[in-house]
Symmetry: C2
Amino acid sequence: MAQKIKLSTIADALGVSTATVSLALRDSPLVADQTRDKIKEHARAIGYIYNRRAASLRTSRSGIVGVVVHDIMNPFFAEILRSIESELDRSRQTFILSNHYDQLEKQRTFIDTLLQLGADGVIMSPAIGTPAADIQLAEDNGLPVVLIARTVEDANVPVFRGDDSYGIGLATNHLISLGHTRIAMIGGTDQTSTGRDRYHGYVMAMEKAGLPVSPEWRIPGPRTKQGGFEVAPQFLALIDKPTAAVCWNDLTAIGLMNGIARAGLVPGEDISVTGYDDLEEAAIATPALTTVWNGQREVGLRAARALLDQLNGVGAPPRQELIKPELRIRQSTAKPKNR
Amino acid sequence: MAQKIKLSTIADALGVSTATVSLALRDSPLVADQTRDKIKEHARAIGYIYNRRAASLRTSRSGIVGVVVHDIMNPFFAEILRSIESELDRSRQTFILSNHYDQLEKQRTFIDTLLQLGADGVIMSPAIGTPAADIQLAEDNGLPVVLIARTVEDANVPVFRGDDSYGIGLATNHLISLGHTRIAMIGGTDQTSTGRDRYHGYVMAMEKAGLPVSPEWRIPGPRTKQGGFEVAPQFLALIDKPTAAVCWNDLTAIGLMNGIARAGLVPGEDISVTGYDDLEEAAIATPALTTVWNGQREVGLRAARALLDQLNGVGAPPRQELIKPELRIRQSTAKPKNR
């Protein structure tokens, strides 16, 4: 990496001090925005590259925050990430991303990379099976951790997620209030806290209404459109012929609706379907999807702020914040029809 | 960052040399996989963090590759990224991502970050308006650049993308062969090479078939489902009542089909719609989407390999490779119906 231009060259050209140039290139708040922009623009024009890597060995902040989730391409995480990103942008933090695909080893490699880079912190939706020790190791090495979407037992760090048991109860109760009594639950896994909480919330709502819960009505697995689509024949072949499906998330629900349509039935008329998350796409699906708003933007915003507060020394004890979901009623749910 | 454990502690515990430990922690191919895994596992267990940041000041490779695109959450890029990721994984490169949202400043910040980190290279779909000088600056500072999806005039670096003009011609010709004569083109922008090539391909196919091209049949803009959905009323109100729409991408097409359905018409019967990209989702949409396979996996694979070849000193001159798209006929296109 060539770096022969000196700070004094930039300082002389612009008639400012070398110290000002140095501070400006490090985005110090001590330099006025306009001056900083002028200095950075000039530095760029003459081909100067500020060496953050060397600088971060001297100063305590690298300006880098890592984010690792199951799958960035899942719109649920995408919406959380957009909100984290806009909050970090305001603080001039750079944001680097990675997927762990629920592989502990991939998650560890990314955390190691962040440690090696001297990153300022990590926001993560922990991979299935993440031990509290992995989180402790990061914290012990000076990398603050904030969890989103899922929690890890015994990890003493902030957690921001939706109240899954309550949220799935809203969807289940809505179907019950329309007159459905045979309601399946499609998708998700019981290996995560989210999965266990949602299944528990569905069972609780059914039992509270005095309705039976057949074990075969639980079809775990799907978390994507493809998964929801593929499971449609299995759902439609259930011997009790459920009239409604509470789905793990909007993707599963939209896929299931496509699969129901492919089988010649009309989702929202012949079969009621609910989603979970209220992705942007839910409102424009055919039919528009009844779902549970899951506060993705809130989760992202609060997680980013909690991390920034920690970096700025604004002490707050680690906390678990549950965001209260809300029901969004649209066209994919109706009174039950005989099948 | 605490780091008091010495390499010799690990070496002594496992009965290997300090040099072997050092090489293993740097993922050197000189150490057998099994030995490397054993060393890394033990190092982790005792809380040792390999300091890649300091090490990369001594050695020439950091093991980090950056990827920056318009929007990671767009499934078109997601499919390219999956393929880049699996190729880099095999070479034990770590992969960090960022969005530029077509903002030059965001793209520059990410490239600066990569330079500061001493990253090994960057694969990018350049932001609208990227000057060749930005790419040259990165290359001059030792950061090899590979472009995907879009090209930058006068940039002398490898480019991997689909043949957009040819691909959109396949979709347009398919509609013409079904008997459509009034065909609109929905979505995309003329500010990118991709956008200009696709519009050109559509106009060429129409003219070759002796069909008129009304300027009002071009509705630029939408690139998302939401965008396609919102533009449906404008499309349906066109005075000539086109019987078919060639869409910019699958997302726009799926959104448009949802908008057509919302207006009480049946996409694939009343109006034919084609997509572009052949996302996984295209095959399970309702109706299943006729579209153009755009070789996302090929683009990702070739871009990753081109970069790795460069890093490994396997010299190949910069090249532009156009991947040949293919038509995928499904249920969203049929003979025209009078409207």
